[in-house]
Amino acid sequence: MSTDSTLSHDIHEHDDHHDHKPSGFLDRWLFTTNHKDIGTLYLVFSLLMFFIGGSMAMIIRAELFAPGLQLVEPDFFNQMTTMHALIMVFGAVMPAWVGFANWMLPMMIGAPDMALPRMNNWSFWILPFAFAMLLSTLFMDSGGPAAGWTLYPPLSLQGGQSFAFVVFAVHMMGISSIMGSINVIATILNMRAPGMTLLKMPLFVWTWLITAFLLIMVMPVLAGAVTMLLTDHFFGTSFFNAAGGGDPVMFQHIFWFFGHPEVYIMILPAFGVVSEIIPTFARKPLFGYSAMVYATASIAFLSFIVWAHHMFTVGMPLTGELFFMYATMLIAVPTGVKVFNWVSTMWKGSMTFETPMLFAIAFVVLFTIGGLSGLMLAIASVDLQYHDTYFVVAHFHYVLVPGSVFALMAGAYYWLPKWTGHMYSERWGKIHFWLSAISVNILFFPQHYLGLAGMPRRIPDYSTQFADFNMISSIGGFIFGASQLVFVGVIVHCVYKSRQKATSQVWEGAQGLEWTLSSPPPYHSFNEPPVIDSSTIAHADSTH
């Protein structure tokens, strides 16, 4: 490793004078090829989708506040559950991670921009059209998709003409994701600064590299599956139509071959962000960097061979059930390595608890709860009872909300001063954290009990025995939803009102190339390749 430490933090501060930002609004945002601008577009878009999907969640929780039908028709309720999931998965969480990738990857590896800037622009601007198409189905005669985000036939094939819009929207989202992933891989493999070897890369870069490979392998599978649904619906084929010799269960196999890696697509970058934040606020290098990289790769590999644990109830051979059960349980090993390493990083560290660290610690604790309920669901024999109950809803929401979404929040607070050049309000950040952390548990923890008691998911009405826990869950939901307005307030204040300037390093314990740039970074970062030395390597073992 080079020990040249001539790279001063101030060198890049002067680059502001050579920004050459496009002056017009359209040039700046519509035709932009700049990774920071495209990252901002992705993040703003995902925040908008987060609130649209969140509004749907509010409708769902309002309807479930008490037994009986009170606010919406059952068919509209089903449209809400389906659209909520599609928007949160494809519109909020995934684009948010792509936004983080756009902003941070080039700065973390010492590249001037993403490798394919024009394709980067295209992959973002496809998304608004895809989601306009998807959301427009709610206003069509046949209504939006109502068969669940899994789009299982034959139910999904009973929808009306609007189903074509749903399929094309999914195609466009897939194309966007694939182009984004190609760009991420091409950038990481080709654009690293001299000396930035693979095992010197920050964990966030590693997790995104692996996530991008997952996306390229599984998004075409989803595209294939929905294309077959499309032809079954409109062109008389029978891929999944039993009456015509097709097999509806085959769709479930294909869908979950995409769907399970999709879960890791949403959580692996979260692992990366948390692996950046914990060392910074523990003021210690990440414990077991190499083990973290191999654990991430192991999780990604295992995600391809566990899909049928989502469909134990369809009736598969015992050997199949055993295989998928044990393979699923095996994921706990690399995941456990990660949790152990995060805790070990914090062990005897000089910890401080700024908002990003609070969200990161909540992530570790609450994601682990989601992981443990996942292990319970992996047991084929007991899954027969849990399947399609609120226990499953509680499980995956623990993984995705205090898991993936909390990591997004943590990352946003962590890098917001770097992006904007201003410090956010720590007081309001902490208020946002505590409101979110408490309400998210009021929202989702009671759903475990509802599921264990047998309440099925995706129903607008329920037996009176489930009333109390549903009411508690809904109250938690409303508080959680309202708390996110605080987040918007913090961001708006930070961007437009904050008077406290951020330094280059922002956080005392922060290490890595992105912290050598000014805050905000120059429009074109690293016009000269940076020098890689011990002060600019975030976590890597010095032996590599």
Partner: protein
Amino acid sequence: MMSGTQQDQMQLKRKRAVKTAWLLAAVAITVFVAFLLSGILAS
């Protein structure tokens, strides 16, 4: 600003990146077509 050598290196990197992108696109298209074909042949 970049020196001439650095600019040459950057050009080379970008050329390699485009090759990587084509390779990855080919993988994605192959997976898509393979899944469609497997469905068509199976039915």
